[in-house]
């Protein structure tokens, strides 16, 4: 097979992987701080996708322009959800948290089904069919924009946690829950803020995903599972790990489809997960807990 085919497929895989990574980043942020696995993550991404589709079809607002407003709406949704509901479950057994969030996911899927019906919806931007040609390399414009936006959002998130006072306070909560309480941090509010930020991440990822895939109410659970695979592979709670694992999964799926059979793409993502669980259970960039 010619080298340019490998190159094209690899670049497409990396760009899709960046968006996967951003989606999983939200899950990782939430788990890293709140210690709750958001099993409604993909479903929350579907809300963002429908918001992008509705804003485009009703007002012709480009998803890339609406990325920040939609992320803000998802932030508010996540904040209210954590403050009003999930905070009560933080100290409860893990199976209670799991059931709560799975139930939330089912409610979201069925609400979207009632409101929008089962048909696939998409946004037809002016650049929907554009591609850039650089010698033998043909890059899908929408994937390039989505990948670049994913990098920018991820960089902003890293900067927030590293350089702002609130970001440092959130990290303090993640490092030592009791210590954070002792020094007077409002942990409940910081948890809500963190869940909001995780939801904003998935909101941004969902907005960009509308450029790459069609949305149906049933797409959510698939992406919840994918985000979970990425986060476990990258290391639960590790933000750079989520981004790296997203790229790794995107690239692996693409190359596996090219070199083996496309219908077995997902099998290779699960294969990576099994290998990581066997040889590095804490994930690529995760740390072992005593």
């Amino acid at each position: 097979m010619p080298f340019d085919v490998f190159l094209n497929v690899a670049v497409a895989g990396v760009l899709t992987g960046l968006v996967y990574g951003l989606m999983a980043l939200g899950l990782s942020v939430i788990f890293g701080v709140v210690r709750v696995v958001n099993f409604a993550h993909g479903e929350m991404m579907t809300i963002a996708m429908y918001l992008a589709v509705v804003l485009f079809s009703s007002f012709h607002l480009d998803p890339l322009v609406m990325l920040v407003p939609i992320a803000a709406v998802l932030f508010a949704f996540g904040y209210v959800l954590q403050a009003g509901l999930i905070n009560r479950f933080v100290t409860r057994p893990e199976h209670s948290q799991f059931l709560l969030l799975v139930a939330l996911g089912i409610i979201i899927v069925n609400t979207l089904l009632i409101v929008f019906g089962p048909d696939a919806r998409t946004v037809q931007t002016s650049y929907a069919y554009d591609s850039f040609q650089l010698g033998p390399l043909i890059v899908d414009a929408t994937k390039l924009y989505a990948g670049a936006a994913a990098l920018i959002v991820a960089a902003l998130l890293f900067a927030f946690f590293r350089f702002t006072l609130i970001g440092k306070a959130v990290r303090a909560c993640a490092d030592n829950y009791t210590g954070a309480l002792v020094i007077g941090l409002n942990v409940g509010r910081l948890y809500a803020l963190t869940f909001g930020l995780g939801a904003a991440c998935v909101g941004a990822a969902g907005t960009m995903m509308t450029l790459i895939i069609d949305v149906t109410p049933s797409v959510g659970p698939t992406y919840t599972l994918l985000a979970f695979i990425i986060v476990v592979t990258g290391g639960l709670g590790s933000m750079p790990g989520a981004l790296i694992a997203g790229v790794l999964i995107g690239l692996t799926e693409a190359l596996a489809g090219l070199l083996f059979t496309p219908s077995a793409k997902s099998m290779f993502a699960f294969g990576i997960l099994v290998l990581v669980l066997l040889f590095r259970p804490q994930g690529i960039l995760g740390t072992r807990r005593s």
């Binding site: 497409a12 089904l113 069919y129 043909i138 899908d140 895939i213 069609d214 109410p217 496309p262």
Partner: protein, 409 residues
């Protein structure tokens, strides 16, 4: 006062026995005299096949008024959603029968229909398949399962014959094709069938590469890159609706326009495909079970569709779902009863010549398969669909080769 026990007289005994017999026979009498036939229509109304399921439903909605004008009895439709899922299809079929369905119609997808057929046979309720091509469904010796739709082998045989007719008309043919197909029950059956049937037709092309993909795939960029790299002249494809749209988008983005797209399944002729892709939807050739635009009932169905759903083209989904109900109504009229066995016997002796699909009409062989139904060759042309072959049903000449996608964007 003495208690006198009287034995019933012979006359009274006879009257009592007659009353018991009458009461016992009442359900049978009621069955024969009951009103509309309760028909459970199972379709994938949600999930990844929802678009096609909703399209089939249009065929259901057109039926009552047309049946009335044809003097056929009324049907009471009970809708069931298979959720594009085999297990859900099985459960919904059981639920519909438990809720009183006297006949089932469905279920578009071969895998789901296989599950529904098992339930129908087990419960002794007739199933009239609207769309499902996997041959094994009518190879099980079922007594209550009937299919007014070609099997994968019949579709392939007609498809190759119609392709050769199109190639002869345009005086050109591809030398190589890349074969892409979904890896579900239907796609796999078609792929196996192509291997078995193609050599018999002495086709002008060879298959350069075969690419199977997941029917629920959200991104087919790798698959299209692989197909493009094969340097084949044409794309031979067995797909569904969503993947047909994904494939087209990727071909545009990856700047690849094959000389022809030869589809042997759904997707490429459907309204959602035509509307979503606009100018990019022009050109693909679909070799599929279709309607004969020259038949009287086709014109009636087209007019009814245009009135109820303006801007929607009549297609396989409407036609075969409508015809499945036509088989049910016709059988009910002749059976004069809702008894499942009487209905099944009536369906077995169906002989409908005033129908819509291409071919001699609707009759079922000993296996419950309509062996008279034929495929057509259809091309997308400016948001409309024209029939190119067989010649008896044709209403246009083929456009060949496909106009490059880059000249249309």
């Amino acid at each position: 006062m003495a208690y006198i026990r009287t034995l019933p007289s012979r006359r009274r005994l006879l009257a009592g026995a007659a009353a018991i017999v009458t009461t016992a026979a009442a359900p049978v009498v009621l069955r024969a005299q009951s009103g509309p036939l309760k028909v459970g229509v199972l379709l994938p109304r949600s999930g990844f096949e929802a678009g096609i399921g909703q399209d089939c439903q249009r065929g259901v909605e057109l039926a009552p008024a047309i049946f009335k004008s044809m003097g056929l009895p009324e049907l009471s439709i009970m809708n069931g959603d298979t959720e594009s899922n085999v297990e859900a299809a099985r459960t919904r079929a059981e639920n519909l029968i438990n809720d009183g369905a006297q006949l089932l119609v469905g279920a578009f997808d071969s895998g789901q229909t296989t599950a529904v057929a098992q339930v129908a046979e087990q419960k002794g309720i007739p199933l009239v398949i609207n769309i499902a091509a996997a041959p094994q469904i009518t190879e099980q010796g079922y007594k209550f399962v009937f299919r007014n739709f070609p099997t994968a082998a019949m579709i392939l045989g007609d498809a190759f014959a119609n392709q050769k007719e199109v190639f002869a008309t345009v005086g050109a043919a591809p030398k190589t094709v890349v074969f892409m197909h979904v890896n579900d029950t239907f796609g796999t059956a078609m792929a196996k069938g192509i291997g078995a049937v193609m050599p018999k037709f002495n086709m002008p092309y060879t298959i350069a590469q075969e690419i199977a993909y997941d029917p629920a795939a959200r991104d087919l960029s790798v698959e299209v890159a692989k197909a493009k790299a094969s340097n084949a002249d044409a794309l031979l494809v067995v797909s569904r609706l969503n993947d047909a749209m994904l494939l087209t988008r990727e071909m545009v983005k990856q700047r690849w326009t094959p000389k022809a797209i030869l589809s042997m399944g759904p997707g490429w002729y459907e309204d959602q495909y035509l509307k979503t892709l606009g100018k990019l939807s022009d050109g693909p050739l679909s070799f599929v079970p279709w309607y004969d635009p020259n038949k009287k009932l086709s014109k009636v169905l087209e007019a009814a569709l245009a009135k109820k759903y303006p801007g929607i083209n009549l297609n396989t989904n409407h036609v075969f779902t409508f015809e499945a109900l036509l088989v049910a109504a016709d059988a009910y009229k002749r059976a004069g009863s809702t008894d499942p066995k009487a209905l099944a016997d009536a369906i077995r002796t169906t002989n409908i010549t005033d129908n819509v699909s291409i071919g001699a009409g609707i009759q079922f062989d000993a296996k419950g398969q309509n062996d008279k139904v034929k495929d057509g060759a259809v091309q997308n042309r400016g948001g409309k669909l024209v029939v190119l072959a067989p010649q008896a049903a044709a209403d246009a000449k083929p456009e060949w080769p496909m106009k490059p996608y880059q000249d249309r964007v």
